[in-house]
Symmetry: C2
């Protein structure tokens, strides 16, 4: 059971390598299929096929289809987190970072085709988003509050409400129920959840609107980056 050391950093045996490949291939395949047809329409068989794996093997790695969907969402969310990270790099003011974060999330959720299908399971998406971005955002809100910049009463509550609002807004945009123009408006409204009035929020977002270097702005969103 210990032929090759499995401790991190050391060569892994063929079994371990195969397992790693399978898990990655499965998540990638699931991400592809689910982004193409939506989570519900994606079948476990097609996912298994695309991952070059037997149908039963999927269940060695994921308890259920929903479990797999969550894993996919966590991967995709990782991409969003990275994008937020680069968009906010260099800024100090927590309030501004928060504003940029909201804007980036709104943009991502409404522009990346991959999200358009995933958002349909808005419940799961909001869950994962809340947890994945929670620590970062809640800390941000706490700092902004401490510095007197925002007055968001309970950062966790604020973030929870914002998360669902973002997902809901994304859904609406994708279904064309809302004009894409209102995207910055939505960001400003969401800032108000954190206790910033419209004019201040607007200035945070518009003044030196962070024009990211293209390579950052175009950074791919998920699996393709480590």
């Amino acid at each position: 059971m210990k032929h090759e050391e499995t401790v991190s950093g050391v060569k892994e045996g063929r079994v371990a390598r195969r397992q790693r490949r399978n898990r990655e291939a499965l998540i990638r395949a699931a991400s592809d299929v689910m982004s193409e047809k939506g989570i519900d329409a994606a079948t476990m068989l097609e996912i298994a096929d695309r991952a070059d794996v037997g149908a039963g093997t999927v269940y060695n790695y994921f308890r259920s289809k929903d479990d797999l969907a969550i894993a996919v969402l966590e991967e995709v969310m990782q991409g969003l987190a990275l994008r937020v990270e680069s968009a906010t790099a260099g800024y100090e003011d927590a309030a501004r970072i928060y504003a940029i974060t909201l804007m980036t999330m709104l943009e991502t959720a409404t522009s990346d085709p991959r999200w358009q299908q995933l958002l349909n399971r808005s419940g799961i998406v909001a869950d994962v988003m809340f947890r994945r971005m929670g620590p970062f955002t809640i800390d941000l809100l706490s700092r902004a509050k401490a510095s007197g910049r925002l007055q968001a009463g309970d950062p966790e509550l604020t973030w929870r409400l914002s998360t669902h609002a973002i997902v809901g807004f994304g859904l609406a945009v994708i279904r064309k129920e809302v004009a894409p123009v209102s995207l910055p408006t939505a960001a400003i409204r969401l800032m108000s959840l954190a206790g910033l009035d419209a004019s201040e929020a607007e200035s945070l977002l518009s003044k030196p609107r962070p024009t990211l270097p293209p390579e950052v702005a175009l950074q791919p969103l998920s699996l393709d980056e480590q």
Copy 2:
């Protein structure tokens, strides 16, 4: 084809009566089963059985299971609308009415056991809620804005964001991820989406906190009322 007049107000024939009974029985049965086990776990067969109807009959009244779920949600939402109506009866100030509306919706979504299962399909719930309460709430926001009481930029956007936030908050409460104490806090935060700062919102909600007469406060939520 016209033995008994089918025009409204006139005696209906047996066929028409049976159809009305079936439709009502189906919605009631679906509401029961879906509230007990959740929308997904509810099977069309059990719903048909409880409505004393053949499995295929359901499809004479509803195009699909989702269609049926939406019909159920619209019924349940009707109850919420009535509850909001009585809770706000007599008030003039649009801003205050809006505040009470938010509070009532939050209370309902988090306290009525029937909602606890339905909320899992948060996407559909938010959709129906947005449409069902939309005209009322958007008008409210517009009036409050006109009177200078609120500054909600785009009432429709504000209401859309709020709707999803309410549903998400309800979900979190039901899953015990959030302390029920924060319910008024949540209402205050949601008021901020409409452009009212925390202190003002608090006064709107706390000062003469509308202590409704019990018969109004306890009003049942849906199917049991016409």
